[in-house]
Amino acid sequence: MAQTDSPSMFPSGFLIRGTILVTVALLCLVGIAPAASPPDFKLKEINGKWFSLSDHLGKEVIYVSFWATWCVPCRREMPHLQKMADDFEDQGFLVVGVNTDPPATKSKIKPYLRRLKITYLNLLDPNNNVLDKYNPTRELPYAVLIDREGSVHEVFPGYRAGDEIRLRKTVQTLLDGNVSEHDPDPGE
């Protein structure tokens, strides 16, 4: 066993202090970090064409949503996203689905989208390299709403019935241009 020399107390004071120090250092670093701009990425669409986020940043309001075929909350959210994509398409709203299924189940992705009548843009991130940059914990669904200035306006971890109501209001506000700096915190 690799743990034979483990400390006998749980956990030792030294380790607690070390963890706290590192966490505080991180908080300081995060505190001085500039305002969040979304990580750029270039991924293939389902039919093999390339999509680059930077081609759209600063031009449209973009909702980047990470999902997988096995994710039930993702499946519940997708019809609402499709409705929003249809309703706001002419106003400069772009929904970008990013599928994170492994390559072994790739053949199921397109039939899945067809079954749910999803026609908005969907990209493939089979090695989860892009998901890692947005959400290292990899919980799904996970979405980021990007405003017309190209900055992250809000993140949406998970999906619960009714989330689409608030999302629709926020997107409409961004499209109308009636928003300044605002990053609502659902805990508030």
Partner: protein
């Protein structure tokens, strides 16, 4: 071992080539991101013997800096067991070091080139030749330590990779760490009208279980297909061959896979044919159109599957069904042969989204006729929305495996309610029925709370039967649990 260094050299060359061809139009940007997760587990002995209670604590710190096209990251894990000898043999953490540098990488991404030195996950083809992926739900988290590079030209993508890797489940079974090496590459050409053609190759050197030594595995594949052929047809075909040089001699095998998908009116149809013979090795996971929450054999199996799905707009439902019939290549005369291993598998799923109701129900049945083994999996999941981010959740899940000599049924039920828009409280009751052993009961309660969009807190108290769990097409057996768990994650 030297070969992956060669692969890295190729990656370096590709980097130079890629860098020369790309445009430098993007504006440099600077960003810090990462996560910290604390996990505490208080394990209690099932028979009430406090001498067998133990504590497990994990602290994960992941920190990344992105500047322009460069990203640099590290992840440090701290692991503590109050008594390491009591850790369950199915616990995938138990062989890990107290302190581990789990991730370290330098990543460069541009229009025509992506390269990474350090830790990474990757697959080649559709997993026929290489599959090394993180699976959060199962706790599989063993990256390749080495390097990878992908160069993208107008119609061709070239990927090379190499490094050391270990397999999480086997090393636990054999109670020692394995250090394996993989290197290889893939080339894919995009042809007109959404057709594509390519191939991949992987060489791996695998730490042998017994006797001590190294097995050499070489596998290559050719793949091709097209999307939206005649507007209604997607096709993918792949053929692979494998050679395994092992302690007892050289074995050869092959893997063939064909999938065809079509769509018309309310119907979606997906068909597949697979033929895998002596094909599985430690780092591949061949394609499979079956359910990602069931376990499948990829070493010796052949046969077709048909999946059909239909909309029923009048009731807002989707009805899906699948039937598959598989056989094996092994015959009665072969070592360990079973005179074929015929299995038929079918499942139906009904999914309904109507107003505040989401309902999913599914029945799965698999029967091995020669061995007289039957598996069933029943799922029912109901979500009733009671307001914005508020819902009532009720569910049931049953797995049954029955043979002439033994049967095991695991039932899980749960009921949850949103205490607030950002918290859910749920209670669970599970029971396990083993033939000749009676029934065991398991009770538990869980609270999930999101104080902010970037923080998650989970608390669990009670017991859980463990057993087979599958996610994303992979499976593992989880240990039983009794006690308390607490997880706090913060993304930044």
């Amino acid at each position: 071992m030297k070969r992956w260094i060669i692969a890295l050299a190729v990656a370096g060359s590709a980097a130079v080539a890629g860098a020369q061809t790309e445009e430098t139009t993007s504006t440099p940007s600077f960003r810090l991101f990462g996560q910290t997760t604390s996990y505490l587990e208080l394990n209690e002995s099932e028979d009430g013997n406090s001498d067998e209670d133990y504590t497990k604590f994990k602290q994960l710190l992941n920190f990344n800096v992105e500047w322009s096209k460069w990203t640099v990251g590290v992840q440090v894990d701290y692991l503590y067991y109050s008594d390491p000898d009591l850790a369950d043999r199915l616990d995938l953490d138990r062989l890990r070091d107290t302190w581990e540098l789990r991730r370290y990488y330098v990543d460069y991404t541009s229009d025509h080139f992506q390269g990474r030195l350090g830790t990474f996950f990757s697959s080649l083809g559709r997993g026929l030749t290489l599959f090394v992926q993180k699976n959060e739900a199962l706790g599989f988290d063993e990256p390749i330590h080495g390097g990878t590079a992908t160069v993208t030209f107008d119609h061709i993508d070239v990927t090379v990779l190499g490094g050391n890797v270990t397999e999480p489940v086997l090393q636990n079974q054999y109670n020692r760490k394995f250090e394996d090496t993989v290197w290889g590459g893939r080339i894919l050409a995009r042809l007109p009208h959404d057709f594509y053609f390519g191939g991949s190759f992987v060489h791996s050197e695998l730490d042998r279980f017994f006797p001590e030594g190294v097995d050499d595995i070489e596998v290559w594949s050719l793949e091709g297909g097209g999307a939206e052929i005649a507007g209604v047809l997607d096709i993918h075909a792949e053929w692979a061959e494998i050679e395994k040089v092992e302690a007892l001699g050289t074995k050869e095998g092959y893997g063939g896979y064909l999938s065809v998908a079509s769509y018309f009116g309310p119907f979606t149809i997906l068909g597949e044919y697979k033929d895998y013979w002596n094909f599985q090795y430690r780092y591949n996971s061949p394609p499979n159109a079956g359910r990602s929450i069931e376990s499948y054999n990829h070493n010796d199996v052949r046969g077709p599957r048909l999946f059909v799905s239909a909309d029923i707009p009048s009731i807002g439902a989707i009805l899906s069904g699948s039937y598959a019939w598989f056989d094996s290549h092994k015959k009665e005369t072969s070592l360990g042969g079973t005179d074929g291993d015929q299995q038929d598998e079918w499942y139906v799923t009904l999914e309904e989204m109507a107003g505040p109701v989401y309902f999913l129900s599914s029945y799965f049945n698999r029967h091995w006729s020669n061995r007289k083994i039957r598996q069933e999996h029943i799922i029912a999941d109901l979500h009733l929305s009671t307001g914005e981010r508020k819902e009532i959740i009720v569910g049931y899940d049953k797995r049954l495996e029955k043979s002439p000599y033994f049967s095991l049924a695991t039932h899980r039920s749960y009921a949850g309610y949103s205490l607030s828009p950002y918290g859910v409280f749920s209670v669970r009751y599970a029971w396990e029925e083993k033939s000749s052993f009676g029934t065991d009961d398991f009770w538990g309660a869980e609270l999930e709370y999101l104080p902010t969009p970037s923080m998650t807190l989970r608390l669990f108290g009670g017991s859980d039967p463990g057993g087979l769990i599958c996610a994303g097409g992979q499976c593992r057996v989880e240990p039983r649990f009794k006690g308390y768990k607490a997880t706090f994650s913060w993304r930044f």
